[in-house]
Symmetry: D3
Subunit: 136 residues, 6 copies
C-alpha cells in the first residue's frame, strides 16, 4: 500500500521578482511591491512528500532523519539566509517566484531520491501564499 511521508523544514531568504527582458516600468506594473530593487524576504516553510511502500523490516517509507539531512544538505544550506537573485545560481535567469522556487527544490531533490518514490513539494511563501509542485 503506497503511503506518503512528509518532512517540514524552513529557510529564510531575500528575493525580488523581476523579468530582466522587460522595462522597469513594466516590471513595476506587473510585480508591484515585490519588484522592490532592494529586495524583501520571507520565512519559507517547505514540505517534502515522498510516496512509496513501507519497508517490512523497519516500518518506514523513508528514514525521516535521512530525509531531513538530505533536505538540509541540498536545500537549506544553499537557500537559508541567502538572496535568491544574487546568491543562488539557479535564479540568475529564472524569476524566484514561489512556483519557480518549488520547481527548483523538486529538481534538486529528485536527483538525490530513488525513482521508486514519487516526490511532491509544497512551499509556503507566507501563511497565505502557498505553492504545490507535483513533479512529473
Amino acid at each position: 500500500m503506497r503511503t506518503a511521508v512528509i518532512r517540514k523544514e524552513h529557510f529564510n531568504a531575500a528575493h525580488r521578482l523581476h523579468n530582466s527582458s522587460w522595462s522597469d516600468e513594466k516590471n513595476h506594473q506587473v510585480f508591484g511591491k515585490c519588484n522592490n530593487p532592494n529586495f524583501h524576504g520571507h520565512n519559507y516553510e517547505l514540505y517534502v512528500k515522498l510516496i512509496g511502500e513501507p519497508d517490512r523490516e523497519t516500518g518506514y517509507v523513508y528514514d525521516m532523519k535521512k530525509l531531513s539531512d538530505l533536505i538540509r544538505e541540498e536545500i537549506i544550506q544553499k537557500f537559508d539566509h541567502k538572496n535568491f537573485n544574487r546568491d543562488v545560481p539557479e535564479f540568475q535567469e529564472l524569476n524566484p517566484t514561489a512556483e519557480n522556487i518549488a520547481m527548483v527544490i523538486w529538481q534538486k531533490l529528485r536527483a538525490r531520491i530513488d525513482l521508486k518514490y514519487d516526490l511532491k513539494i509544497t512551499l509556503y511563501e507566507t501563511e497565505r501564499n502557498i505553492v504545490e509542485y507535483p513533479g512529473a
Copy 2:
C-alpha cells in the same frame, strides 16, 4: 508542468443548520446545538487552489494579488460579518453546512476564473471541522 497556487483568506459569519421541510423536533434531533434558532458563528478559513501552467514570462501560475482581490470581491464582501441564513441569497433554500458553503464558493469563483485552471476549495469551519470541494 501543472502547478498549484493556493491563497488563504478568512471571514466571520453566523449560521444555523435547519431543514425547513422538517419538524422542529427532527431538526433538533439531527442538527443538535447547530440548530439553535438564534444562530451561532464561526471564523471561516478559506483556501482557494488554482492548478495551471506557470507563465514563462512572470513565473506565476496566477497573480496572487489578483486572486486575493477576486476572492475578496466575490466571497469576503458577500459573506464576512453576515448571517448565511438571512443575508446570503444562495442560502435561502440551501442549508449552510460547510459542505454547501464550499460548493457555493466554488460556483461563484468558477464563474470568474478561466477554465484553463482547475479550481478546488478547502474550508475550515473550525480547526477540527474541514471540507474539501474539488469541483467537477
Copy 3:
C-alpha cells in the same frame, strides 16, 4: 515559587455589537459591519490562567482535568453554539465585545476558584483580535 498553569478551551458563538441607547445610525457608524442586525460569529479561543504554588504531593498548581471540567461547566455549556445577545443573560444589557466577554468569563470563574489563585483570562475573537483581562 508561584507558577502559572494555563488551559485552552474554545467555543463558537454569534454576536452583534450594539448600544441600545444609541440611534441605529450611530450604532452603524461606531460598530460598522459588527453591528449587522442579523449577527455574525466567531470561533473563540479561551486561555484561562491560574497562578499559585505547586502542591508538594502532586506537583500540580491545579489539576488541569478539573480546570477543563470547570471551564466546560461554567463557560462552554453556556456560550458554545449560542447567540450572546439573545441567549446569554449577562449580555442582555452589556455589549458582547471581546473585552466584555473576557470580563464575564473572569467573573464566572472567579466565583468558583479558590482566592489563593490569581486568575487571568485571554480571549482570541479571531487570530488577529485578542483581549487580556487580568482581573482585580
Copy 4:
C-alpha cells in the same frame, strides 16, 4: 459531486521503534534515539478524511459529531495516554512507526464506515513528521 469532510482529533502516547528480530546493536543503528528502551512519546494529531456525496436533506457528507464519536470510540480510547508497544495489541508484533500507526487507524475505522465513503488518514507525529495513508 464527491466532497471530502475531515475531522481532526488528537492523542498522546509513548512508543519505541524496535525490530525484535534484530540485534540491539542493529536496532540502535537503524532507529537511533527512537530506539530508547525506556520509550519516548508524542502528541499525535490525527486527521480523518471521508469522501462521499453530500446528503440532499442534511447537506452533510457525514455528521461530524458522529465521526468524532466514532474516532474517539475506536482510536482515542484505545491509544490516548497509552504505550503503543506495551498497551496496544496491534503493535505487539508491528513496529509503531507513524506509517504503521496510520495504517492501523485506517483498518480500525474502515471496519466501521460504510464503503460508499473513501477513507484517508493523515497523522502528525510531530509538527515536522507527517504520514498520509490513502487506503486501498
Copy 5:
C-alpha cells in the same frame, strides 16, 4: 479594570545584521549568516498591545479597526516589502535586529497613541525567535 487589547499584523522585509564601525571579519564572526551582504528576509508577525480602561458606552478599550488602520499607516506601509538597511530611514545607523525593529515600532506608534494607554510590542522574526518591547 485595566484590560489589554492586542492586534496582530504582518509584513515581509529583507535585512542584514551589520555594524559599520566593525571590520567585515568581525561582522561575520558576530552575526554569522545574518551578515550576508546580499541580505536575507523574514515574514514578521507583529502584535501591538494597548492596555487601558474599556469605554462604558462601546465596551471597547480601543477600536480594533482603528488600531489596525493605524498600524498599517505607521508600520506596514513603511516596512512591508522593504529592505530595512536600504529603504527605512530609522535603520541607516541602527542595526535592524528584531530588538531594534520592535523598539522603532514602539516609538512610531507611541507618538500616535494617547498616553492613557500603555503600549507593548511583540515581534516574531521567525516562529522560534521572538522579541517583546515593553516601552517605558
Copy 6:
C-alpha cells in the same frame, strides 16, 4: 530599556505521573490516565525568555544562536527522546508534571545564564496545557 528575547525549542519525551509514597489506588484516583504504568508521552514546546538591555554594538539582548545552542546542550540533549521517570536524574524523586519540568529547566538554564538577565520558562505539554515558571 529592558527588552525580552524568546527562543522556542522542542523535545519529545515519555513520562508517567506518580507519587511513590502513595498507594497505586490513590495514584490512579489522583492522576487518572496520566498514571499509566507503561507511560505515555508528549511533544513539548519550550519557550525560554531572557530579559535584559540590548547591547549598543550588536543590538542584541542575547545572541539567539548562542541561546539555542545553550538550550540544546542543557535541555534538549538531556530530555529529547527520553523517559523522564527513568532516564532523567532530576525526576527520580520528583513527579514529572509540566510544572516540575518547567522548574527544572529554569534551574538548569539559570546556572548557565548571567544573572543580569531575568529568566522565564513557558512549557507547552500539549496545545491546551501550558505552564509558566517565572523564577525567583
